[in-house]
């Protein structure tokens, strides 16, 4: 009640004054997002925490459903009706918005220094000079497993490819459980939870990913063929009829306790923590041979930028700055277990499974999905090709070697690496 009177008095004062610019009335900022699942968390935890510190700025979280987000946001930006703050998808989708002048350059945001070069990569221009969104969260790949089944069958967390396959073999032999909960009907699981999960260990994470962009390595080279071959070895351990098994089928299969291991992205943590009544564990992607350096796919997924047509760019910058703080990092990562802040702060997590996942960052080297930067700009799109190729390999309709050649052929048809270009110029 007190605040209402105060607010009213303040607005009356503002209306009356001849110098409205000196007036400190609260500005309301609208946040565009595709994370409609997180509405409650934003409204009950994140926004109140920010507003407490900055009473002059009010926030409104207004999400659109994920499938419509890109199209709806584009339309709103074109017609100047978009919100002040824009949740950014990684790489090209956001880059295109920046190139069209829809997003503000953020180089003067001081908390940007709290992020590693790799964390910022997804929201920078190709040359890394301009940053247009602040990194918010990443998702990490690995394997979630049913601890009860592991105890029952006396299994250890596997660390190498051989151990992993031996574990799967044991579960299969015992016969009560499906070793791996995954299907190929939706195709993206095979690529995202399969190939991009274990792949970095074969192509040495960032080294291999950058080599593809520079053109020093090809998708038909040994590391990539090996990654595809490793994926093909999963086939005997999938459920009967996995070719028609969808993503939600796999989730249900695992949460009902029918399957022992679930190739996962950390975003599943929230769902499984709620749905499952047995204890969960997680192990990181197995390395090819014992003693190899381990790599994890720590994929930059969510960023936040400012609409260049916003009337409150200054206030929006205050919020963006706060997104780079330790307070936000801790609040966000705990409110949404499985979505990890990308900042360098040491934070404390409550969810044990999320803790396990984030713990890998200190043991292994982080990388992002290799098709996301630059390589999915043309047609055929590398990401889409990876989906169908990974699914085909698991369906045994394509061989890893041939598939790798097909991927490279697709890339060659439109992508000329910068290195090659430089060489051409020199000649």
């Amino acid at each position: 009640m007190k605040t209402t009177i105060k607010d009213t008095l303040r607005s009356l004062f503002c209306l009356g004054t001849i110098l409205p610019f000196t007036c400190t009335a609260a500005t309301t900022l609208t946040i565009e997002s595709w994370r409609s699942d997180d509405r409650v968390i934003w409204q009950q935890q994140i926004i109140p925490a920010f507003e407490k510190k900055h009473p002059n700025i009010k926030l409104k979280f207004s999400p659109t459903s994920p499938a419509e987000y890109n199209a709806a946001l584009n339309a709103r930006l074109e017609s100047d009706t978009a919100g002040d703050l824009i949740t950014c998808r990684p790489f090209d989708t956001s880059l295109r918005l920046y190139q069209k002048g829809k997003l503000v350059k953020l180089d003067d945001v001081s908390t940007l220094t709290n992020f590693s070069t790799m964390a910022k990569l997804a929201w920078q221009t190709d040359d890394g000079k301009d940053t247009f969104c602040i990194p918010v969260a990443s998702v990490i790949h690995g394997f979630i497993y049913n601890k009860q089944v592991f105890n029952e069958l006396k299994l250890q967390e596997p660390t190498t490819e051989a151990e992993f396959l031996a574990t799967l073999e044991k579960i299969k032999d015992q016969g009560d459980y499906i070793p791996l909960a995954m299907g190929t009907a939706d195709q993206w699981e095979a690529a995202t939870m399969g190939l991009q999960n274990i792949g970095p260990n074969y192509w040495q994470g960032e080294t291999g990913r950058k080599a593809l962009i520079n053109g020093t390595q090809k998708l038909s080279d040994t590391p990539y063929v090996n990654a595809l071959t490793a994926l093909s070895k999963w086939q005997p351990y999938l459920a009967k009829g996995y070719q028609a098994q969808t993503y939600s089928d796999s989730q249900t299969q695992f949460s009902l306790g029918r399957a022992a291991i679930y190739p996962a992205g950390s975003w599943e943590i929230g769902f499984f923590s709620k749905e499952v009544d047995f204890e969960l564990g997680a192990f990181k992607p197995p390395v090819p041979t014992k003693g190899d350096i381990c790599y994890i796919s720590d994929h930059t997924d969510i960023g936040m930028g400012i609409n260049s047509k916003s009337k409150h760019i200054k206030a929006a910058k205050v919020f963006i700055n706060w997104l780079g703080s330790k307070e936000f990092a801790e609040l966000y990562s705990n409110a949404l277990p499985g979505f990890f802040s990308l900042s360098n702060h040491q934070i404390l997590l409550n969810n044990p499974l999320a803790k396990t996942f984030i713990g890998w960052r200190s043991k292994c080297r982080s990388t992002i999905r290799n098709s996301y930067q630059i390589l999915s700009r043309g047609t055929p799109n590398l990401e889409t090709q990876l989906w169908s190729v990974s699914a085909n390999i698991l369906n045994k309709t394509e061989q890893p070697g041939k598939a790798a050649k097909k991927l490279q052929k697709g890339l060659d048809s439109w992508y000329k690496p910068k290195l090659a270009k430089a060489e051409e110029k020199m000649q």
Binding site: N70, A71, F91, D92, T93, R96, K100, G183, T184, A185, D186, Q187, W188, A239, K240, G241, Y242, Q243, A244, Q245, T246, D249, T252, Q253, S371, Y372, S376, T379, P380, N381, L382, E383, T384, W387, S388, A391, N392, N395, T397, E398, G410, S413, W414
Partner: protein, 307 residues
Amino acid sequence: MLSNQLNKRWHIPFFIAPALVIYSLFMIYSLIESLKLSFFQTNSQEEMQFVGLANYFQLFFDATWSEQFWNAFANNGYFFLVHMLVQNPIGLMIAALLSIRWLPGRSFYRTAIFLPALLSFVLVGFIWKLVLSPLWGVSEGLLSVIGLGDWYAPWLGLENSALTTIALVSVWQFVGIPMMLIYASLLSIPEEIIEAARCDGLNAWAIFWKIKLPLILPTLGIVTILTFVGNFNAFDLVYVSQGALAGPDYSTDILGTFLYRTFFGHQLQLGNPSMGATIASTMFFIILCGVCLYLFFIQRKLTRYEL
């Protein structure tokens, strides 16, 4: 004199106008705009540039595009073939059975068979996906009951059976439409003709082939053309059950899903409105050609009997 006549008939343009305006605005104008868009391409400065037939050349001759296009076209042809070989003969058969006067429960069957045509694609896709699911579906169990459990396969997930399965689901959904059209036209055959045939000593079988079928041929023609237009415009069922990538490995990709993926983009693939419009225009021409061929070579040869 002429103006007098016009004055008397002013109500005709008056009542046609709203429909004409709406139709022109939403159908003809969009069609022309879409055709226009297929001659343009966005350049690196985000400007529209006139490129003539370049998009069409790309679609038909550039391996990246043509491979997908011909695959979708062939799949579409197969989809149509299944409907012609399964849906329409079954529709005809059911209609013939329903037109038997003494058949008990005719109206019940008629309604039951027509009902799926009223359901939404989303529902039909979902139901059948569930029925055929290897995890939760009833198909395997039902087959086991009659001793054919080993025949079961995850049909929607296998390259060589997915398209046939979807085509048959579509047949299940729409068999009611040819049935209704044929049934109506069977009912309009005067009883005296059948009576006369019977007096001449023809049995029911002969009456159907020699009297009824020739009389309903024009309706079968209409059914064919409706099936053709419907099939080459199809999109929803494949999209709902197999997604925009029309898996496995594009084996269920038809022109509609190819158009959708190209126009709106998919995952990291950004949408390409110009190529999308090119595919849409190509679909329009394919349907136009089909309809013209039908009109010139079949419709004109059909004999209509004065009943």
